[in-house]
């Protein structure tokens, strides 16, 4: 594993007597930026300063070239919403929106997270929904699981149509949305993931819903009264979905 011990006669780390203790002569002060060495393998102070300056310069140039930050959306202090553990969710066919997103387990679809933001799309397109999210710094597709929603028009499940998140991996937590275009509307499942330690868990549905409302409101959309889907879910989803119109 380590380097072998030096033979005794190689003298270890002691420098030869005549290279040891004198000031570097001025004319050896390093005329180039990298390899001006004094006897004994020492670099002159001037060379060291140049190397340090060059390193700072390269790092500074790189830092200046970094693109703008997207930052994270404010998901703090979500509106307090109670979860009714006995709530009965609407049947998927009762509304044009999705009610849950699903994961296939053992041959059947199991609901795993509630749809909590919907877009009637009377005066907007699905593309405008996704473009608004993109402009707010949500990029995709991130690293994520595949999930499905029920399409009542086609009478089959469909995988997520457009997805995005604040960060690709979510090492430190992220706002994450999945969208489906269903029956002339858009349905969104929005949540905030916990930091990956190593798996993501749900930090909040409610905070994510508020953040999505806010980013659309700032883009000129209107947030109407929420629609009740009855899809309450811990930790903090109250069974309502925000309704956002253009």
């Amino acid at each position: 594993m380590g380097e072998p011990d030096p033979p005794e006669d190689l003298g270890g780390s002691d420098p030869p007597e005549d290279l040891g203790g004198s000031d570097p002569p001025e004319d050896l002060g390093g005329s180039d930026g990298g390899g001006s060495e004094l006897p004994g393998g020492r670099l002159s102070r001037r060379t060291l300063l140049r190397r340090a300056g060059a390193s700072l310069g390269v790092g500074g140039a790189g830092a200046l070239a970094l693109p703008e930050a997207t930052g994270s959306h404010d998901t703090s202090d979500p509106e307090t919403r109670g979860v009714d553990a006995d709530a009965e969710a609407l049947a998927e066919d009762e509304v044009p929106y999705g009610v849950w997103h699903y994961k296939p387990v053992g041959g059947e679809m199991r609901p795993t997270a509630p749809i909590n933001v919907v877009f009637p799309l009377e005066a907007a397109t699905f593309g405008q929904v996704t473009a608004t999210c993109r402009r707010a710094g949500l990029a995709g597709p991130p690293l994520e699981y595949v999930r499905f929603a029920w399409d009542r028009d086609r009478e089959r499940y469909r995988r997520q149509e457009w997805t995005a998140a604040e960060t690709a991996v979510g090492v430190s937590g992220r706002l994450h949305v999945r969208c489906w275009k269903l029956a002339g509307t858009a349905s969104m499942q929005a949540h905030v993931d916990t930091a990956a330690t190593p798996k993501h868990r749900i930090h909040t549905y409610s905070g994510a819903r508020d953040a999505v409302e806010r980013l659309f409101r700032e883009a000129g959309w209107t947030v109407a009264d929420p629609v009740h889907l009855g899809n309450d879910k811990v930790p903090d989803h109250d069974g309502f979905a925000s309704v956002i119109r253009r």
């Binding site: 420098p15 670099l43 190397r51 930052g71 703090s76 387990v105 710094g137 597709p141 798996k199």
Partner: protein, 225 residues
């Protein structure tokens, strides 16, 4: 013996780690982590294409979870490699490259909290690798007595500045759900900056000293403070 002159190629390789075999292991680990992240990003799109493929979802979820785990693990693995084999370049790349590949696959280039975290971790690992190299080469007759540490610092310092740039870009743009991680990145960056500065000062003081042996810089890069 005061050092064996190394070719430019050897000097560059030395910034990836002291021992060739360990460099190869580090390179394989880096490649593996990167492939895992690419797999986690694209396997779901390639393997789950229609109702006939839905039975694959649980397997695909496992690949995605492994990819997330790879990125999280890479943050710590950079430090492990730095202690094990030095090499600031590879120590920096191990936490940064997988996350960078993941974000580019996701079509994201903007600075975000994850990039700031992995850049800070990468910079910390790079500077730790410089100290590890100095410690390991302390008594070795085959060590490049001065250049090893200075070459390492030349690689690690831009990483430290780059991490600062990312953290500064994020100022005022972090929500509480990521505040802990970004706060930890700031603390790590502060420690890293102090260590890097101490190493440079140690080298400079050794360079102008009149009584130190030429090996002083490597033996303790922070001795000048």
């Amino acid at each position: 013996m005061s050092g064996v002159a190394r070719s430019p190629v050897e000097r560059v390789l030395a910034t990836c780690g002291r021992q060739p075999r360990r460099r190869r292991v580090g390179g394989v680990v880096l490649a593996g982590l990167t492939v895992l992240v690419l797999g986690g990003t694209w396997v779901p799109h390639l393997l789950v294409t229609g109702p006939g493929t839905w039975h694959r979802v649980e397997t695909v979820d496992g690949v995605v979870a492994a990819a997330v785990l790879a990125v999280v693990a890479s943050v710590g693995l950079g430090f492990v490699y730095a202690v094990w084999n030095g090499g600031p370049l590879l120590s920096f790349a191990i936490p940064v490259l997988p996350e960078l590949v993941g974000r580019l696959s996701a079509g994201s280039w903007a600075v975000d909290q994850d990039l700031a975290v992995v850049l800070s971790a990468g910079a910390g690992a790079a500077v730790l690798a410089v100290y590890g190299t100095a410690w390991a080469e302390r008594d070795s007759p085959r060590a490049d007595r001065y250049g090893g540490v200075v070459d390492g610092l030349t690689v690690a310092t831009p990483a430290v500045v780059l991490a600062l740039g990312a953290l500064v870009r994020l100022r005022g743009r972090t929500s509480p759900h990521v505040a802990d991680a970004v706060g930890a990145a700031w603390i790590l960056w502060g420690l890293t900056a102090v260590a890097a500065t101490a190493a440079w000062v140690g080298c400079l003081r050794a360079a102008v000293g009149t009584t130190e042996s030429p090996g002083d810089c490597e033996s303790d890069p922070g001795s000048g403070t």
